[in-house]
Amino acid sequence: MTARLRQAIPPVAVFVAVLGLWELAVRAFGISQFLLPRPTAIAIALSEHADELATVGRNTLVEAVGGFAIGGGAALVVGFATARWVAASRVLLPFAIAANSVPIIAFAPIMNNWFGILNPLSKMMVVAVLVFFPIMINTLRGLTLVDPASIELMRSYATSELDVFRTVRVPNALPYIFTAVKVSATLSLIGAIVAEYFGGAQSVLGQFIITEAAFFRFANAWAAIVVASAISIAFFLIILGVERVALPWHASARAGREA
């Protein structure tokens, strides 16, 4: 058996074991469906409501991706723009870090008021603000935290600041940016769902979960949670794939070093 397959055994074993124990425990102890539906019940709910789950899942995904694009795009622009002026970045970075510690989610009702509660844009804006700060902070960090020896080397070549930016700072920043983007991928879906709790269109994951929970149909609610989680993981893996393609040297270098 290859080494890779052998690596995958423990997590898979845990998955199967937990599912199995869960199923047995619920049956054996007669735990009320209220708290913890059986995995098989959740699986049935998934297949029964597949169409509806696909629709609400897609609508929420649109909010998440839209907000991710808006916030991420703005963050990159601001990050690149401020990296040029060391003074500006030194003032902006601590503020951005402080702003990142504000519970952005509290702004969801405001966004509903500004953009219209039924408009998916109101949810996108919550997500956008959520992902803006981590990506901007990491972009700024990646562009400014360059090995001083590299800067000295570039000085010996007597090149322009633009050349240094292009050949050293930007490639240096890419791994930092991707780290923030990966974290933001997961955040954006959760942000969208939480924003939905403050009201809005009905055919979204957040509302589906609330409705099903209100009617005590917990297997359905859990099925929706599984869908949300799966979408998040898929989004993350796609970004991971993009990273592998864009930065082939980074992943292999890390693997090589950790080998």
Partner: protein
């Protein structure tokens, strides 16, 4: 000392800039004030969506409900309630995170088996699980603390694993040459080496714990905290938009204050170390 003063000054300056932009936007596109009619009409800048800053400030002194206590007092109480949940979640989550990190560093089998789930756990929308946790535990604010811990433990676990593994292999060999026990190695080498990493994660965790506490309150029917206040003032937005903004300001201040607290602790603990602490 000078650094802190300078940070505070630039923060105040930035707030002033925001305030100026706010009122300028309203001046240009908001509702008429006295004799002045703005040249534009932006829906976002009207008094309902963007109350005047002095109205927001003033609302703190006014009663939230008829004959009730001033809003400021109400929000202070709500903030205290939420802070208790957030702090509890923070402590519990940090302890859990560090504990998991220590376990994983000592058992690569457990690490391989469980880390994927630790990572995947953060993809589950906690807001969906929150009502079930609250009902299951039947413990009021403690349940929200548990929810808050759920968001807090993850960054601490990941940073803990990296930090505990960070010491130079030669330092580990040195301890072996002293016939030090694994416990001594952990306490004298790994944990001190992990401290900078852990503090970076704790700053993230501070924010996450406040977010977790507010999110945990929302669907749980708990009305005593800031989450409840936000929901409440959102419902009655038309009758007093500045109250919702006041609640948001308080939530923001709490998030920043908690972050600053952890940062101060970081500076104190990591004082004098090579590299000190990053921003």
């Amino acid at each position: 000392m000078l650094r802190a003063a300078r940070a505070l000054l630039s923060f105040a300056a930035f707030l002033t800039v925001i305030a100026v932009i706010w009122e300028l936007a309203k001046l240009l596109g908001g509702d008429p004030v006295g004799e002045w009619t703005p040249p534009f009409a932006w829906r976002i800048a009207n008094d309902l969506n963007m109350p005047h800053l002095w109205d927001i400030a003033g609302s703190f002194a006014a009663p939230a409900q008829r004959n009730g206590p001033p809003l400021g007092l109400l929000l202070a109480g709500a903030a205290g309630f939420t802070f208790r949940e957030a702090f509890g979640g923070f402590v519990f989550g940090a302890a859990l995170g560090l504990g998991l990190a220590i376990v994983f560093v000592h058992s690569s089998l457990l690490e391989r088996a469980l880390v994927p789930y630790v990572v995947a756990s953060q993809t589950i929308p906690i807001i969906a699980i929150a009502p079930m946790v609250v009902i299951w535990l039947q413990a009021g604010w403690v349940s929200v603390a548990v929810i808050s811990a759920y968001l807090t433990f993850f960054p601490v676990t990941i940073a803990g694993i990296r930090g505990l593994r960070s010491p130079d292999p030669r330092a580990v060999e040195l301890m072996r040459s002293y016939a030090a026990s694994p416990r001594e190695l952990l306490l004298k080498v790994r944990l001190p080496a992990a401290a900078p990493y852990l503090f970076a994660a704790l700053k993230v965790a501070a924010t996450a714990s406040v977010v977790g506490a507010i999110i945990g309150e929302l669907p749980s029917g708990i009305r005593d905290g800031l989450g409840g206040a936000i929901l409440n003032f959102n419902q009655y937005y038309i009758s007093g938009p500045e109250k919702l903004w006041a609640a948001i300001v308080v939530a923001a201040l709490m998030g920043i204050a908690f972050f600053a607290l952890v940062r101060a602790a970081e500076v104190a603990v990591l004082r004098g170390r090579l590299g000190g602490s990053a921003a």
